[in-house]
Amino acid sequence: MSPPGAEWLPAGIAGLVGLSLAVAVLATAWPRQAHRVGLLGALAITAWVLGLSALFLNTGPDPEAAATRVALGGWEAPLGLMLHLDGLSMTLLVLTAVVGLATSLYSLGYVHDRIERRQFWPLWLWLWAGLNMLFLSGDAFNLYITLEVVSLSAVALVAFTGTAAAVSGAVRYLLINILGSLSFLMGVVLLFGEHGVLDLVLLEARTEAGPTERMAAVLMTAGLMLKAALFPLHVWLAPAHGSAPAPVSAVLSGLVVTGSFYLILRLWMGVFAPLATPAFGILVGMLGVAALVWGSLQALRAGRLKSIVAYSTVAQFGYLLVAFPLMLVDPGAWRVVVFFAVVHALAKASVFLAAGTLQHAAGHDRLADLGEVLRARPRTVFALGLAGVSLMGLPFTGGFIAKYLLLEAGLGTVLAGSFIGVLWVLAIAGGGLLAAAYVLRMVAPSFQRGRADAGEAVSPWMDWVPLGLATVAALAGLAGPLTLNTLALTPGAP
């Protein structure tokens, strides 16, 4: 006896893909009204995702019953391709909806020029549709195509302002993305050649630790690490994220990077699970520690507000790498990692939005000359600080819960007798201190005495949306149990 509403789940999943695509296509065909289409679409997609998550949670608590696969066109795998919804994808869909809605509202104020609006909204709606499709895809080749939709629209958005810095950042971002995609595609081809299927569930059932799987794992992981800007493949991130328009930076740092990370996690929990060895975990963890230290130091040195935020993304993603060895000792730790990624995405998006407001008001984002605007705009500074506090992991914020759970997992490995666990614990604790240093660097000028000048007027959207999203990020701690329960509805995962 299935719970009420379960029969609607497949239609809801396909409908979400259809809705997000329809909004993007409509905005492309009707650019004059693109911003109105975008706003209504953002509300509709968010409402749809929330409704879907209610249906999904209602089908629990058995993960096998809750996870739903939808055959597109009525063709089951291996012939056709399947959409796939489980706890992991549901969590990231909700995250995308929240950040996407906030970004859309913010963009109403940020992109006000009539001609810019016509260009911005279709690209942004394609990017959102691409992310939704990426999280729902259950097919290796389809994942490649959705990754391309995401990267191509993201590249176009980075270049959006058309200045030399933005175009140069975008061209580099494009080359990196193509390299990453090709590497991923080669891995897919190898897997298909060996097993003759593309569906992830079927692949998972057939893989063992052979040479093909090893090579495919290396290629696909390297490609995705490049796209996720995981250390040491992060060098492209700061120029691209730093020069993009504020709403785009928010989406790139909050969602696009998280999307690539999601895929790494998904693959290593499924298809490549037999390949994970402790030595590999320690190597990845070491990279994570290096990312934490290096990214934080760059953030402490950077002279521009948005560069600081961009480098902090490199640093914060170090935590996600540090979590890999923890997951090998305590397999259940993966849920904490996802929760951390969710909180980071919320906080990082609001920091970028707040930075965009300050940049718009001051006309630049050089930290040294930003004091006047910072002192005159307490609301934005509060948003910056609140989201920053969540990034640092001070008590009662989402970041605190996430880091606490990570530390707990780290101490668990130490107690389990792993000597190297001490390093992970030190890294997790030390990374928080470094984060505190660069967050304080951003807000410190507002506490100094001096002239206050609000600068150029900003629209109410740009004034309030960062604060709203920062509040959500801080309160995300309250949603911790709900998130972890949702994540538990992932079949096959511990």
Binding site: A14, G15, G18, L21, A22, A24, V25, T28, A29, W30, P31, V70, A71, L72, G73, G74, W75, P78, L79, L81, R118, Q119, F120, P122, L123, W126, M133, F141, N142, I145, T146, E148, V149, L152, S153, V155, A156, A159, F160, G162, T163, A164, A166, V167, S168, V171, M186, L190, F192, G193, E194, H195, G196, V197, P211, T212, R214, M215, A216, V218
Partner: protein, 331 residues
């Protein structure tokens, strides 16, 4: 396999590697582009030898043809911008300040240093060697061929590749159409259209050739589209051929390019994805699944989608060739 074919394959392989190397090593950009086009044609031949005529067609039309044209026109634009900068005064009306100039500055990085050569070569050899080893161990897999063959009678078409692209994995094809569209949106977001630098072709040869070529291209394009249901062909290839005809027209009359009207142009470039999506959502509502067809309706719907997709692809490719967004789009 007879010895002559083996010899042909070896020569082809050597040609592909040699041309690729020359293309990468060339310091003259024009020569590199021409070599790139040659590389695409040789690659198309290789696909024919691998018994993949569909990919061969697409490679020849899009990989060699359209990409080559795009590269050549980019080169021409770069040259005119450089000449403009050297002479110190623009001879065309001042273009968008955020347009191609910014891109040129961005692309004008110093050439790679000599000492990156050895590490790059080592890296390529290691990765290539590992790939070859992995492929060596792979069993002779038949992939999904038997499954596709078993379902051909309900697919609505007679050509397995079209059945996979437009029916079994229609979602992938839809997204590929979307990617072409997104590429154009990205190009348009960068700036306004400025005309391709005029190089008036003296004499009657270009217009005369056009009068002959364009009708032939249109007939070929329509044939390739129609043939897709039972033989190699289909929307992407047909769209590329029609797009090539459009590019020839654009090239022949750079000054009298009619101002593209905004609304029909937008509708034209989105027709393919819009129609595809409508059919898909209808399939969901009618109970055939998202992007599914009723068996009896599969053939007409597939043809309808392919016609719209062909038109959109052709328009998009021409628009990409013209590069910036047309003034009509801002009205």
């Amino acid at each position: 396999m007879n010895a002559l074919l083996v010899l042909f394959d070896l020569v082809l392989l050597a040609g592909i590697v040699g041309v690729a190397w020359r293309c990468l090593a060339s310091t003259d950009l024009f020569r590199a582009v021409v070599l790139f086009i040659t590389f695409g044609l040789l690659l198309a031949l290789a696909w024919v030898r691998l018994e993949a005529p569909d990919i061969a067609l697409a490679e020849a039309a899009i990989g060699a043809g359209i990409t080559g044209a795009l590269l050549l026109v980019t080169l021409e634009r770069l040259r005119s911008i450089m000449a403009e900068r050297r002479s110190g005064r623009p001879h065309t009306p001042p273009p968008d300040p955020a347009g191609p100039h910014a891109l040129l500055r961005a692309l004008h990085d110093p050439p790679p240093e000599r000492r990156t050569f050895i590490p790059a070569l080592t890296f390529a050899l290691v990765v290539g060697g590992l790939l070859a080893t992995a492929l060596w161990h792979q069993p002779q897999s038949v992939g999904l061929e038997p499954v596709v063959d078993a379902h051909m009678d309900v697919s609505g078409v007679d050509h397995p590749v079209t059945a996979v692209l437009l029916n079994f994995r229609a979602y992938d094809t839809f997204l590929e159409l979307a990617i072409v569209l997104i590429a154009l949106l990205g190009a348009w977001s960068l700036g306004r259209h400025d005309l391709i630098p005029a190089r008036p072709a003296p004499g009657p040869i270009l217009p005369g050739t056009l009068r002959l070529l364009v009708p032939v291209a249109i007939v070929t394009g329509v044939y390739v589209l129609w043939a897709g249901s039972h033989a190699p062909g289909g929307a992407f290839q047909a769209g590329a051929i029609l797009g090539a005809a459009g590019i020839l027209l654009v090239l022949a009359r750079p000054h009298q390019l009619p101002m593209a009207p905004g609304v029909p142009l937008r509708l034209g470039i989105t027709a393919g994805v819009a129609l595809f999506l409508l059919v898909g959502v209808y399939g969901l509502a009618a109970g055939h699944g998202f992007l599914g067809y009723a068996e009896a309706w599969a053939y007409p719907l597939i043809i309808l989608i392919e016609v719209a997709a062909t038109l959109s692809i052709a328009l998009t490719l021409v628009a990409l060739f013209v590069a910036g967004r047309p003034a009509g789009d801002d009205a």
